[in-house]
């Protein structure tokens, strides 16, 4: 079934969106017209309303605008991979591991490259956890090692080997000039070069990440903003159990 959707302003399908942007020209009637033409003629919008025009520097003008986009989308055709594991909760995860895997799950986590943001990975791993949800360190059936930030790829992988990890958790926060992508691809490449890619479950997370990107970059999963430790624990429990079963067969 086709279900085309459009932005909703205050009427179904009115297509209204709000925009703000800067043009490298001085403020004036011509700048206003340029802003209008940009949206209407060049970007195909209708009912363009320039709400505000303000000169914000010599030769730069800032606009706020509302307009109606003509674009629409078949929502039912939007297909996006999602992490399918339900959230079993702290107790559920532990029970599952205890009854189905019967051994601890071991993970290492950290942030490679020059990225020194640790709060995200701390939220997942450290006792305290995130917004009331305990971190992996608190799970009796997990053994988690938080390696911190600014890790060299080899250091990271060495530790994973050393503790015989099931999974490698990577946090990427700084995204300028796609440095997070570069760092992420670099780590996976290094793991491949060392023949370690298939030994570990590779999980990536961060505020600008999606599961889809994680998969595209060669990880097994990706977690975005607002992730709870129990989301990750549930996923890891399922995945480690699945792989263990695979091996048994």
């Amino acid at each position: 079934m086709q279900r085309r959707i459009r932005p909703y302003g205050d009427k179904t399908d009115d297509g209204v969106i709000q925009m703000s942007f800067t043009l490298p020209v001085p403020a004036g009637p011509r700048a206003r017209e340029a802003a209008r033409l940009l949206l209407e003629r060049e970007m195909g919008m209708k009912d363009v309303k320039i709400a505000s025009m303000e000169g914000i520097a010599t030769d730069y003008t800032y606009f706020v605008a509302y307009a109606s986009t003509q674009a629409s989308l078949d929502y039912d055709a939007v297909d996006v991979p999602i992490v399918k594991t339900p959230n079993y909760g702290f107790t559920g995860v532990n029970q599952r591991i205890e009854s189905e895997l019967k051994r601890h799950i071991i993970v290492v986590g950290g942030n490679n490259g020059f990225d020194s943001h640790t709060v995200g990975i701390d939220a997942i791993i450290n006792m305290k956890g995130f917004s009331g949800d305990y971190g992996l360190e608190r799970y009796p059936w997990f053994r988690a090692f938080n390696l911190g930030a600014q890790l060299k790829d080899d250091e990271f992988l060495d530790r994973a080997v050393e503790v015989n990890a099931d999974a490698v958790l990577v946090s990427k926060v700084v995204t300028q000039r796609d440095i997070h992508k570069e760092d992420a691809l670099g780590l996976i490449q290094r793991a491949k070069d060392r023949g370690l890619r298939d030994r570990f479950i590779f999980v990536i997370g961060g505020p600008r990440l999606t599961h889809k990107e994680g998969l595209e970059w060669g990880f097994d999963a990706g977690f975005g903003p607002g992730t709870k430790p129990s989301d990750v624990a549930s996923y890891l429990a399922d995945e480690v159990i699945r792989r263990a079963r695979g091996r048994q067969r």
Binding site: Y8, G9, D10, K11, T12, V16, Q18, S20, K49, I50, A51, S52, E54, V64, Y66
Partner: protein
């Protein structure tokens, strides 16, 4: 606790002066009626539906009486007279009356004293039923409201205005989910000048949705449902304003609205409606509202859109005293008087926010028992929605710091359009954040004696006092003629709707004037 030292004697004198001013106007009111009042009487008596060309029957009947020059006896009397003449349906009356009236005494023969009494008794009985029904509906509201609770002050009041009542209902539910406590359905731009109330559910309007009885019902139903879901009673408000002020008050009472925008002068000043017409209409609308336990919101905030908020801040206070006095004369309780004021000082003035605090705090203290309504900045809002959103944030903080009762949430797109769904959400989110993050600010701070805030509050009170002395000398109607309020002048016999004003005959009959007693416990 943030309080200002208040000159209580001066406040008392202001009230005294306002009572005198109101009494004067009331004298005029008591000798007159209007087409709108009489239509309301008919509606209360059960006249509903439309006649020829879709015009409401109430309008057709009153128009007929007015054209014939006999409206001074009161529509209620004529209704009774029609009963005696054997007509029992309003439709018949609308069809027959013109002919009978044209025929004079032959069409409508004089009555014996006995018949006259019987006529009045019949109608009074009907009227009693009507008033009791309103009472029942008030009690129904009260029960719902008490069982679910309405949440803490400042009450979050937010507007919806799509033009389509069904779309409005969707947006009202969304607003309630986001935290709104009161939903106002903004009325289509041109409606206040219509001398009739449209009929039925409506789906088209200009930047607002027509106020119709059916629309009221639809929205209240949606909110009753949402209230139950949220476990929080969501209030509903609309406009009892314009040329149909009392009729809408009746419909609102009937459909269990909780509040109404209702002002003794707004229509005069901002819609150029005749002042006599407005004064008479506001009185009867308030009689209904007093009985129905509805809270009114007055419109003093609007003054600061045409007059400067620094120079003319005191006219807001002046007008609030007058609105209060007039409302008291209609039997309203202080707890029903959501006197309006606004945050409209030029934001780029140094210490402008301190001046806003002064005014908000003053109004709060002068009217301590009143559900004061604080209106957001509008005039100085701009298309730069980011800045405008910050300006509203400062308003939000002023609201909670001075413990206002009701706050209309300012929306960042004020200078552009009536709110989109996302604009409204952003507005409520900002209010939620600030009311919570500064919840007890008002209890934590004191204002410096003799400081900017204190001095400003004194000045405003002094000026309001002087202005009331002036109005009391000039009389309210002449003062309006001079442009005392909103920098706007209006003539005694100018403006729309003047021809709908009618002098009451000696035998004027309106049973509701005695029946509509104030609700002892409005909520």
């Amino acid at each position: 606790m943030a309080t200002l030292p208040l000159d209580h004697d001066k406040v008392a004198d202001c009230r005294h002066l306002a009572r005198g001013i109101a009494a004067n106007v009331q004298q005029y009111i008591d000798g007159h009626t209007t087409v709108a009042v009489e239509r309301t009487v008919l509606r209360l008596l059960g006249v509903d539906g439309t006649g020829e060309h879709g015009a409401p029957l109430a309008n057709l009947l009153v128009e007929t009486l007015h054209k014939a020059g006999v409206l001074g006896k009161g529509a209620a009397w004529w209704m009774g007279r029609c009963f005696r003449l054997g007509m029992d349906s309003p439709t018949t009356m609308a069809l027959e009356l013109p002919r009978l009236l044209a025929a004079g005494d032959r069409g409508v023969p004089p009555l014996s004293a006995e018949d006259e009494q019987a006529l009045q008794d019949d109608v009074a009985a009907l009227a009693r039923d009507a008033v009791e029904e309103l009472g029942r509906r008030r009690e129904h509201r009260k029960a719902l409201r008490r069982s679910l609770g309405i949440g803490p002050d400042p009450q979050k009041y937010i507007i919806v205005a799509t033009g389509n009542i069904h779309e409005d209902a969707v947006q009202a539910r969304a607003a309630a989910q986001a935290g709104a406590q009161i939903i106002a359905v903004i009325r289509s731009t041109a409606q206040s000048l219509l001398d009739y109330v449209p009929q039925g559910a409506t789906t088209e309007g200009f930047g607002g949705t027509y106020a119709t009885q059916e629309n009221f019902r639809i929205m209240r139903e949606a909110l009753d449902d949402e209230s139950r879901k949220l476990g929080r009673y969501i209030q509903l408000t609309n406009y009892s304003s314009g040329l149909c002020m009392p009729e809408i008050a009746y419909m609102a009472a009937h459909e269990r609205l909780d509040m109404l925008l209702n002002d003794s002068m707004y229509g005069i000043l901002f819609r150029d409606i005749n002042m006599r017409r407005t004064f008479i209409d506001q009185y009867f609308s308030r009689r209904i509202v007093a009985h129905a336990g509805i809270i009114i919101n007055t419109g003093e905030d609007n003054y600061l859109t045409t007059a400067d908020a620094v120079d003319k801040g005191h006219t807001v206070l002046t007008s609030q005293f007058i609105n209060e006095a007039l409302a008291h004369l209609a039997g309203m309780k202080d707890s029903q008087l959501g006197l309006g004021h606004a945050h409209e000082i030029d934001p780029w003035l140094e210490d402008s926010w301190l001046l806003e605090l002064a005014m908000a705090q003053l109004v709060r203290q002068v009217f301590p028992a009143h559900p004061i309504k604080f209106m957001p900045p509008t005039k100085h809002m701009t298309g730069d929605i980011f800045w405008s959103h910050v300006y509203d944030a400062m308003f939000n903080l002023a609201t909670v710091a001075t413990r206002q009762s009701i706050q209309l949430a300012g929306v960042m797109t004020e200078a552009m359009h009536t709110p989109l769904m996302m604009d409204r959400y952003a507005a409520i989110k900002s209010v939620n954040y600030i009311f919570n993050a500064a919840r007890h600010l008002g209890e934590e701070i004191e204002f410096k004696r003799g400081g900017i805030i204190d001095q400003r509050a004194r000045l405003v009170l002094d000026r309001a006092h002087a202005e009331l002395q002036h109005v009391s000398r000039a009389g309210l109607m002449d003062a309006i003629g001079e442009g005392v309020f909103a920098d706007t002048r209006r003539k005694l016999d100018g403006g729309k709707g003047h021809d709908g004003v009618v002098q009451r005959d000696a035998g004027y009959f309106n049973p509701f004037l005695s029946l509509l007693t104030p609700a002892a416990e409005p909520y």
